[in-house]
Structure formats: structure tokens, C-alpha cells
Symmetry: D2
Subunit: 356 residues, 4 copies
């Protein structure tokens, strides 16, 4: 459904072309200073129209906090936050009211619910993720007091790949519009996206996320393992097709003698010499960097004619109209960070209960 | 924690070397005939000692149902099912009571809980998955009435890969001990595992799972998307490092015009010409095959000396003793199926509420 | 926390003197016509200033739906509904910023959260219940299709009691401002409330609720029994001190031979001759009327000086200012109905899963 | 369903005449010494056959811990605890296989689930509460470290009432078989129960529960108020018809000026002069005694002929056979305590998250 998290919990609402979208953040501890400028900055990283390689829909994504904050600090009460939709152009969607766009959610929503808001994908639109980013910003503010940092970046567009995160300066992620801190490939990524756009087509990509300074002990086995929750959170983002952490799919071909992370001690802290575990062992954080990859498919809306069917099962042809992203990953970076922040914040709270 | 599922819900318990492990299945609808022979067969597919390429621990995994079944049928009440541990050799673990085995959960459990059962990994042992397989067998029985079938198989060991599932006869999965229906590679996989075992080492692998005949409409966006729950369920299995569905990570390099699944109509049913979507669109099943891959790391226990530290932060050396799998994927096949069955059964129940 | 319900689920937010309050209704099945006039009518039954025996705060309680409704019908997506606060007079509360009002939540919120919105009780204000009434109105619309009716009324004010519900015409509840369908006592109740108000004091009361035409089978033992959920829902309403259903506390003095409800058959339907069970047996509805009583304490805010302490543990004196109800039950009637509707709607959905 | 609690969570299973009943306790913090003698003592207080005024069914209620405890202390893992059924006499129930016993759960279970274990009431039997008592004993052990004490007692049988708890020495509760610490009425209660039993009838009663030394701050408004959860927990116990806390139903007739609990300071601690609030204000504990009453109906099984219907809607006559309690409250005392302990333990854990 539309609620995520156990103790640090969000409920999102809103459709792409309704009056507004929003989120209720419940369970955020009281006493947290709420830096509204920071929340707005996070929303700006996700908002449409921010560069030539994103959709040109214009949304300020100005938000309003309706509850849960008093004199600049959280009260422990639910924080409701609303963002108005401003630049809907619903008539761009009148041609798909009765036609199912390929690889969109049109058909499955119609089949499941029987009645749906078709405009701009309605609830299935990635516009919903703005609410996640706002909530994630609050989670980030909470995690600041623990020293946790969460940094995502674009690590692949099409077949152009960035270097491994350990060789990059992640503070440079925002230095270019594709959000890739590897300067040697960022321009090529941008060129590729631009070329794809001119082809009236779209392309997939990869986002890598790195979480540093997590406390040891986050994760609740056997089902709510840290990486299992991260996986679910990432897979719940629009267009995501895969998740791997640590050695991930490459671990398949390794031997145990290569893959095991040997323990040693550094300044009284247990550490590992390598980190194929991705900072998670037995579903619980071990204090090393948590890192994972999130695969995004090419955006389904392309500016080309495609065969499909309509509600009455008749053949039809549909082509994208309106304003769309040729590649989703540059704007997905803050969304990945937001969901990661929500998962980590939830486990930080849950972990307070593991011992007497 | 140790409960999974919303309406079809399981709670597992038990440690590797305690008196028994078990599961409570809650929410299974009343009136379902419980085929105990089938449950035992499923457990036999997972049990240790079943072939030369698995651990030689001997467990019958005979189960006993304590509740919830009357005159051979479910009553809608919680079904408790217990499996005794028989072949514990706890003294095989006395050497690791105070030493953290590399890439195991020893250190993180110690740090999180402060007090743990170290014998055989305690709760973090894959022995817990027997309870999942038993519960999954009940879910499979429930899904039979819907015609849903769930078939997993080993699709890769080390760098030896099977062909794509659409070209294989999945009914042949149980024809060999590695559970790979691609006869052209199964023997090579077995040889590789055997070679690795003789090297006192371990190797990773991949399990592919295919779900056929699912009703259209399973999945509860925006957070409980069908593939997001499948991902969490798979990532909660021991040793799993990655999950992808449909086109997965390969989708990164594709263009939208290649990747989109065009709709057409067949016998009054909306179908797609290709299935890069993996049977899930917008987080909801569309009636096509659901298929996904689950990456397993090489088993952490190797029969070689490895450097590590002990509880007091002193350097130590540890080597595997006892009986262990050189490669986890042959026995992981029924576990993957079980978790998939539990996810699908839960959504089948949840979907009953989506319309008036 | 601030979410209630399993499948038909609400999340409320907002403080008494913040910009607005609201609710997100998640899980309401798609295809339900949303009668906004009806929702407004329900809110009008709860709103302040509706008669001389309620608080004189003026709130239109005009609501706005932000999501989840398209072309007048639900889409299965979360329904966000916001009500602006208009007539806050926060300065009426400046005298209690640092002083704990007796029998209010001031002290416990301060102790638990450390930082709170003191204005008008903040989140602990009964203003929050407007959001429940709006959500309950949607639940009532859903239950209409099942023929379920939910009718609450004031059955006692101070020591003035109405007759048993089975002897009353519940359609007359709205005929007087105290919402008591027993015309023989309604005027006396109004007089008592008015007299108490002139005494600058407050008085307690009782609300009885009757639910007719519920399907047989609602309730999920052993913990989520129908009456247990009703009890929790009622006890979660501000100022409630007790809940009883069927024979309730009077059942203590009865013998089994008097209290048992004998079964008989009427038009092919199993019925009971008496209804001490209150329509619930073993935690599951049996098709008879469900009825229960909800006890409300006297409102804590009185227009008299009372001894108390301040944040610094110094003695203080506090007196009510602003606009308050001398007796809460007339306005509590729609709140009780709303919570009952939410519980019943949730169980209607949950019950769809009990059989194959 | 069959799971209760958010962080300190239990799942019970088992039927009256199945092989065993049991419970899984999940979320109990690690490091807690498990006093098995104490658990057995608690079970002994609830077990049948303990005195002449209880059922003569003979059950030792010996329990076995299957998991979650290592070297005498909890590990943070799920604690499974099983109790064998020994003295089932299922043939005592063959006469009600197809007949619905009045005011039992036979009819509603049949209608809801379609297939049920009729023997001894199956899952709806109060035998299930043994599992709750065992789990509650673990919760009590956890609460010991906080100094919290939970004491219930029989405060009324039929119309014989004990004095108010504040005038009684609750350590005397176990001094008599009816568990009433008021020596002036305990014998009368026993006589009444015995007389009722000789009449082949049953009688209702009241249990009062007092919780002392709770930390300030327990409870999670607006829905999970402390008293609301206590109410649900109590109402989930078999035969309970009502719940009230603090002033309860008597608060209806009081005025605010009488009912408000004035604050003062004692040794630096905020206290209230009276305690009509029952230790809970705004849904959160304030440090005063928490006290509440739980009303139990007369046991439905009476040794008299009663009219009813059978599965085929034919008229029938049924009379109690087997061994039953003439009054449930003496054995209900430890059950009420157990559920209270589980609620308080859960909130103790939840409260760890309310502030930064």
C-alpha cells in the first residue's frame, strides 16, 4: 500500500495531475530542527526541468508543512507536507485515456482497480517520488546527528560506466547535470542521453549509493535484513529492475577464499580488510561502507509510434506526447538517497530495542 | 523481525543446534486440504545430505503439525509446524565460540545482541530456511487452486551459465543433483562444485525462478509492488547478494524502443509480445510469466585457515570444521520457490480487496 | 502512532492551531462514488459552534480532497483530505505555555516528547477527530453497499439516562441538539449541560452505538476480535474512559442460564432469541445487532481556578480560557460512528480472505 | 489474527484438543535471564484443576522452550514455547459436533471458516490463554528490570464486591482460591461460585488490575493510546464484555471540578493529588498507578438443557458435558496480568524512540 517503514514511517499520496501530492512522516523523534531550506534543495535535485537532459515540465515543487513542526523543531507528531502540482497539462494525455501505453502501468491499474486517473499516469507517475524525497530529507536531517552520510550517483548510462566508487570523489556528484562524479565519463553520458533524446528514444542507467558511518547493528533478521529492506525500498521506485549490494551479481563467480572479508582491528574497532559484504553481514550493518547498485530500465514513454491495444481490446497505435525524461537516472539520484535514508532512519530507531 | 507477510503470514523460530526449528503460518484460508506428503517432499529437496555436492549433515527433517489442521484440512487457524534437529554436532563449533568467522554473522550478531548462540551460526544458520520451505509448501498448495506454478532452477554456478528459461524444459530441473534443467551444462556445474570442494573452497551461483499463470492484478503500489516484495523475500534468504526481474540489469543498456513490451490481444486476453517487464508492470502482475534471478555468494565457511579477530579484539586464525555446502544454489532452489509462493499467496489474498 | 486499520487504513495529522488537519485514507476499494455532500454533513455534526451547548469556536470544517478520487469515484489510491483551521485563537493559550492543565495531556506530552505545540492542546486536541469523521464518512459510504447502518446517540448525561436502544426510534437522534432519541429525557440533558456550563463546570456522558445488518463473520480472532478492535477504536477517542458491548458490565451479575442467547432459525437464517452477546460471539459477528456503550469523562477544561504546577515544578494556578464544550457527548456521536465505520469497513475487507 | 504487539510481539497457536498449544515471543531484548520456575508458577496460577471452584480438567501445563534462549538468557531471537495437551477428552464433545452451543463461538466460526475443530471449542477455547500466560511471564521478567509490578485480583463475583484497590493489600491475592485480597468477601465469593456450580449454572465476575511504577511516557497517541491498547488486549481475552480505566463508567456522573486530578510536586516528581485518570493522560502514562477493570460474562457452558439449532438449521437441545469452570475470574487473574505485561513491555520498547 502507500505506507512504508515500521517506526520511522511515511505515507504518500497524490497523482501526477491532481491538485497536489504529499506525504505524512510519522515516528520522527521529537526535538529535531527542521531545515526547510535543505528540504527544498533536495526537492530541487529531483524536480523536472532542471537541465536539458530532463523533462521540461516546470514545477517549483515548493512545499508546505501542515503539521508536526513547532517553532522549527519536530514534536514527535505526524509531519504532513504538501506540494502543489502547477504545470499539469492533462490534455497531453487525452489520447491515452482508453489506450494502454506499452510498459506503463495503464493496463495493470485498469485491470486491478477498474477505475483510474489516466492523466500523466496518475498515481503510477514518478511524480509521487517528490513526496519521498521530501520525507527522505527529514530522515537525512535525523541521521545527521549520527554522522551517517548517504551519497548516490549515476554510475552507468547505457553502456558507459563510471569507475568504482572507492576511486571517486563523491562530493563532485553535483558538478555536472548527469550526477556522475567520474569526470572522465560524465560528458559522454550526457552526450548519449542527448543523442537518445534526439532519436525520440530513451535509455536505461545505473545508480550506485554509498552509506558511510552507519552504526554497527542496523537490520532485523531473519526477514527484515538491512539489505532486504534496502532492496524493497529501491525496487519500489519507478522503473527499477534490479538491486545488488556489495559484490552483488559478480559474487556468483568468486570463490569463498576470494570473497570472504577478513577481520582485523583498527583503533579498537573491528574492521574488514575487503568489503565484498557491502557493509552488511547476516543482514546487520558491520560499520563498513554500505554500497549498492540500482538498475533503471529505459523510460517507457518514447516519442515514436508503438502498437498496442485499447480498453476494448482493439488494436491501436500510441506515441508519447508531452514532456518526458530520455533517461531517468540523473533525477533518480536523490530518490535513491531518500529511500535509503528512510530505511536507515527506521533501523536506527528499531535498533534501540535490541538489548536490555 | 521473524514474521513475514501481511495476510498470508509466517513466523519462523529456531536455531541450528537448538532442539527444533519451526514456523507458524497464519492467515491461510480455511478448507485447504493439507497434503503432508507434498510438504515432506519439499523439505527433502532442501534437506542436507541429499547428494555428494551438499553438506553431509544428516537430517530427516520430519515435521509435525501442531495446530490449524483438522481432519486433513486447514481451519483458518494458525498452523504450527515443528521440525526436530537431530544431527547437531555442537562441538564442531567450540573453536568459534569466541572467534568471528569471516563473512559470517558472528560479529554483527555479537555487536547487536550482546548474547548469542554461536553453535552452527545459531539463528543466522540457513537451517532456518527449512521452516520457510515447509510454510512455502502450504502456500503452494493454496496456489494450486489458482493454477499458479512456481519453478526455480540453478541457472549459473561460477561462470557456467544455463540457457534462458524460455528455451528450457523446467520439468527436468530435478533430473540432476545440481537442479539445472539445461542438460548441456548441468554436468559441468557438478564438476565445478566438486572441484571447488576438493580445493576446500566454495563458489557462488544463480537461481532463476519462473511463476506461471498468476492472476492479473497482484501487487500493491506504491510501496508493496509485486517485484519489490519478491525482492525483499529473496534478499532475506541467507547468502543472497542481488535480485533482478525481467530484463534486470541488462535493461540498463537497452533503449525504450527495444525494451517496451507491445500489447496485443489473444483469445480476448491482453498479452505482450515480449516480456522484458518480467510479468510485472507498475508493480502489478500483468498475467505474463513472472521471472527473476537471485544471486548467491560463495558460502563463507571454507576449509582453509583465515585470519580474523576474537571477541577481545585479538588476532586469530579460523578454519571451517564440520559439514558444509561447497555451493548453496542446488539446495536454494526450493527455498526460492517457497519464498516466492509465500509472496504470491499473500498478494492473492490482498488482491481480493482492491475493488468493491 | 497515527495510523489505524489493517486494510482500510487511515493516517491522521494536524494540530488544533496549525494551518490545517487532515487524513489519508488508504485501502478503500476502487469504484466507490464519493458523496462529498454527505462527508460535509458528517463534519457538520461534529463541528464546533453548532448549538448553545457546544464550544463557540467557529469552524466551517470545509474539506478539500487532494487525491484518490477521479471523476467522482475512488481509484483505490490513497485519499488525502485536508481541513483548514480558521478560527484559532492561539493567544487564549499563552497562559498555559509553561503550565500543565489538570487532567489534560500537557504534562505527559511534555515528559514524553520534550517539545510540544501547547496551543489548544496541539495534537492532543479533539480537533483531530474531525479528520476521523471525514474518513469515517468514506467508510460509511463503502458500507452502504453492504446495507450496514451505524447509529450512535447520547444515552446518558450525568445521571440522566435514556431508555434501552431497542425501545427507541434512532432516526430521531438528530431531532434535538443533545442527540438523544429519547424525547422524554433529551430536554433534561440539555438543561443539565446548560446548568453545568453556567457553573463554569463540565459533566460526563455516555454514547451508545448500534450497528445493524452486519454480515456474519466479521472479526479476526484470537487477538483482533471484532469487539476488541471496536474497543480500541473507541478508547482512542479523546476523553473516553470505558467500553462495553452487549451485556457489558451488567453481565457480571447474571447467570449463564439467563445470559446465554439461545439459537433459533428464522427464514433460513440462524438467529438468537436474546442478544446479550451484542452481536459478537467468539470475537466474530453473528448477524444480530452489534451494540456498545462508550463512557466519556467530564471535559478537563473548566472555567475555574485550579491548582497545578509549571514546567519548572513550581506551584501554579490555571483557569480555562477560550471556548470549550461543557459536555462532549453531543459532538462525540459522529466520532463514535466514524470509528465504528472504520473498524467495520476494515473487517469487511479482511473477511474476504477467510475462506478459499 | 494471532499476532499481538508491535515490538514485543507474540504469536499464539494451538487448539484445545490438538497435540499442543504454544507461543512465539519475538522482539524480547537480548540478555534477559529467563527464570523458568517463574514461568511455570505463572502457568500454575492459570491451569485447570487447581481448586474446587475451577474445572477439573488435569493439565500440568509443563512447557518446553524450543528457541531463543541460550545459556539461560534471551538472545534477541524468537522464543518458541510449547505446552502439550494431556487430558483432552474429545469424546465429551462428540455431541456438539453438529450443534451450535449457545453463546459459544461454534456458529460464528462455522459461518466464517466453513471448517472447524469443534472439540472443546478448538481454537476459541480459553486453553489458548495458557500460551498468553507463558509469554506474559517473559514480559514480566523483562519489566522487572524497570521495577514495574502488575497485580490483578478478583474484585467482584456476581453482586459480591471487594473494596477499592487502594484500601487492600494486594500481596494477599493468592491467599485464597478465588484470588480476592479482600478477606471480608473472599469466602462469600467462593460460596457463591460453589452454589452456582451446584445449580449446574455459571456466574460472571470482575477482575481489577493495578500496574505500579510504570515509567512516565508509555503510550503512542493518537491511536495507540496506552489505555486503548490495554483495552484491546483485555477485550481479546475470552468472555470479556467490558473495560474501563481510572474513573471509568463512574466518570459519567462526575463534574470536571470533581474529576480533574490536580498536579503537585513531590520530591522533584510531578504527581497528581487524585487519580481519576488511572495513571494515563492523553493516552500516555503519567507515573501514577495504572488501574482498570475487566468484566467477564458468565461462562457459556452450563450443565442444563438449552434450546439451539444444528448445522442444518434444525432445532436441537444441548447440555454441557465435560469439565468446566462455574466462574472464570479466579483463573482469569493471571491472564489479565499477562496481557497487561505484554502491552506495557511493548510500550517500554516503543518509548525508546520518542526523542532524539
Amino acid at each position: 500500500m502507500n505506507t512504508y517503514g515500521t517506526l520511522f514511517r511515511i505515507t504518500t499520496f497524490g497523482e501526477s495531475h491532481g491538485p497536489s501530492i504529499g506525504v505524512v512522516v510519522d515516528g520522527c523523534p521529537a526535538g529535531l530542527p527542521v531545515d526547510e531550506v535543505f528540504i527544498q534543495q533536495e526537492l530541487a535535485r529531483r524536480k523536472p526541468g532542471q537541465s536539458k537532459i530532463t523533462t521540461q515540465r516546470k514545477e517549483d515543487d515548493a512545499f508546505k508543512i501542515l503539521s508536526g513542526v513547532f517553532e522549527g523543531k519536530t514534536t514527535g507528531m505526524p509531519i504532513a507536507l504538501v506540494i502543489e502540482n502547477q504545470d499539469q497539462r492533462s490534455k497531453d494525455y487525452s489520447h491515452v485515456e482508453n489506450v494502454f501505453r506499452p510498459s506503463h502501468a495503464d493496463y495493470t491499474y485498469e485491470a486491478k482497480y477498474g477505475h483510474r486517473d489516466h492523466r500523466g499516469g496518475g498515481r503510477s507517475s514518478a511524480r509521487e517520488t517528490a513526496a519521498r524525497v521530501a520525507a527522505g530529507a527529514i530522515a537525512k536531517l535525523f541521521l545527521r546527528s549520527y554522522g551517517v552520510t548517504i551519497q548516490a550517483f549515476v554510475s552507468q548510462v547505457g553502456d558507459i560506466k563510471a569507475a568504482h566508487y572507492t576511486t571517486l570523489d563523491l562530493s563532485k556528484t553535483e558538478d555536472n547535470i548527469v550526477r556522475c562524479p567520474d569526470a572522465t565519463v560524465a560528458d559522454k553520458m550526457i552526450e548519449l542521453i542527448d543523442a537518445v533524446r534526439l532519436d525520440r528514444d530513451t535509455i536505461g542507467g545505473l545508480v550506485t549509493c554509498v552509506i558511510k558511518n552507519t552504526p554497527v547493528g542496523l537490520g532485523e533478521p531473519v526477514f527484515d535484513k538491512l539489505h532486504a529492506e534496502l532492496g524493497k525500498a529501491m525496487l519500489s521506485i519507478n522503473a527499477v529492475k534490479g538491486f545488488e549490494y556489495g559484490s552483488g551479481f559478480e559474487g556468483i563467480t568468486l570463490r569463498g577464499s576470494e570473497h570472504n572479508d577478513l577481520f582485523y582491528t583498527e583503533e579498537g574497532q573491528v574492521r574488514t580488510k575487503t568489503n565484498f559484504s557491502g557493509g552488511v553481514q547476516g543482514g546487520i550493518s558491520n560499520g563498513e561502507d554500505i554500497y549498492f547498485n540500482v538498475a533503471f530500465k529505459p523510460v517507457a514513454t518514447i516519442m515514436q509510434d508503438q502498437e498496442t491495444v485499447d480498453k476494448d481490446n482493439n488494436p491501436a497505435v500510441v506515441s508519447g506526447k508531452g514532456r518526458h525524461d530520455p533517461c531517468v537516472v540523473p533525477r533518480a539520484v536523490p530518490i535513491v538517497e531518500a529511500m535509503a535514508a528512510l530505511v536507515i532512519a527506521d533501523f536506527v530507531l528499531r535498533t534501540r530495542t535490541s538489548k536490555l
